[in-house]
């Protein structure tokens, strides 16, 4: 019982710590924003650019952070001034949602196709007709078959010392 209470208290403590941590992170970080906002003239993120407009946008964001604006507010204001292309990642709504949804849709579609293919493959494999048991040939046919097979047999092995030619028959271990 005491152990259970201790565990519960620990869980509560962890939850409180996590909550306070996330509320502290609500104050936007300049480094994070610089990686998520594009420089409109150079098509890289701000942290990779020292173009004039990039430094102006950074100055703007610093002013807004100092004035207590949240990350979401700053992003909304920048979109109003530059369009959605200012965001490095497309917003998760409207038409731009497609950019997020399509890769997963593609993945699901591919998985579905593979599953379908596998099922069809398994199904076609199943109804294999049973073969009739083999019967021994009659002696005449056996002779004919032997004669036909003999035509494919390798030439008689050359005399030793005449060099090695590839042979189809098994190679004697002494040969190596």
């Amino acid at each position: 019982m005491g152990r259970l209470t201790a565990t519960a208290a620990l869980a509560l403590l962890v939850a409180i710590l996590a909550a306070s941590g996330s509320s502290a992170a609500a104050r936007p970080s300049m480094t994070k924003l610089e990686g998520e906002i594009m420089c409109p003239t150079c098509h890289t993120t701000l942290d990779q650019s020292d173009a004039a407009i990039a430094t102006r946008i950074e100055a703007y964001m610093r002013r807004r952070i100092a004035a207590g604006a949240t990350e979401k507010q700053i992003k909304t204001e920048l979109v109003a001034q530059f369009g959605t292309a200012i965001l490095a990642a497309p917003p998760k709504r409207g038409f731009d949602l497609l950019a997020w949804a399509l890769p997963f849709a593609g993945l699901l579609g591919a998985a579905g196709l593979i599953a379908l293919g596998v099922r069809r493959w398994c199904r076609e494999e199943a109804p294999e007709p049973e073969l009739e048991p083999l019967r021994p040939l009659d002696p005449d046919s056996e002779l004919l078959v032997d004669a036909a097979l003999a035509a494919f047999d390798p030439q008689p092995a050359p005399a030793a010392g005449e060099g090695r030619r590839p042979t189809l028959g098994p190679v004697a271990p002494a040969d190596r």
């Binding site: 407009i53 102006r56 703007y60």
Partner: protein
């Protein structure tokens, strides 16, 4: 037993073809739409005088004293429509406050606007800019004509901009007869103004 399977298979392949065709046409539309600006610039360069792509944008600077008197009221509205400036030659200058070359050519435009007082409407389009920077810029450079703010980059694509500054000379019928990418020289400004009947 066999028939429903075949028809289902066929309708699936029809669906796949339709979806693929849709994706492909959307893609090609996007490509064509993305090229509208360069097409437009090409038409201007060939002397075909295409219509100026229309826009409706909020003014951030309402200094309309140098404008033709019939047009001045347009600058007082919350949105300015390019279409409403028809009937007079218009010089559209795309600029940004952080752009050094823009700063260097502004005195040329302010001088011409004063000289052609009441005859030509000079119109700045502030683009790819921090709005508060732009608002601080305009009085500092004594800009004596109206500026609107494009906060969506829409005109950037429509006009085939490759950067700022760029200047378009629009005649009284709303057709673009000359385009100067980069800083406008005194000679280019005079020539442009003459071709739109303002010189």
């Amino acid at each position: 037993m066999d028939e429903p399977v075949t028809s289902r298979r066929r309708s699936t392949s029809v669906l796949v073809v339709v979806v693929l065709a849709g994706v492909l046409s959307a893609f090609s539309w996007a490509v064509m739409h993305g090229q509208r600006g360069s097409t437009f610039v090409g038409l201007v360069a060939n002397g075909q005088a295409p219509k100026a792509p229309l826009f409706t944008l909020p003014p951030i600077w309402r200094a309309s004293a140098t404008w033709p008197s019939q047009l001045r009221a347009n600058a007082a509205h919350s949105k300015l429509r390019l279409r409403d400036l028809r009937g007079y030659p218009v010089v559209i200058n795309f600029w940004a406050s952080w752009c050094g070359p823009c700063r260097s050519e502004i005195p040329r435009f302010t001088a011409a606007a004063a000289r052609l007082h009441g005859k030509v409407a000079f119109l700045g389009v502030d683009i790819q800019d921090v709005t508060s920077d732009a608002r601080a810029f305009l009085p500092r450079y004594h800009v004596n004509y109206v500026s609107v703010r494009d906060g969506s980059d829409g005109t950037y694509a429509d006009y085939g901009l490759t950067g700022v500054p760029e200047t378009y000379f629009v005649d009284a019928r709303g057709r673009v007869v000359r385009h100067v990418p980069g800083v406008v020289s005194e000679a280019q400004l005079d020539q442009g103004l003459r071709t739109i009947g303002g010189g």
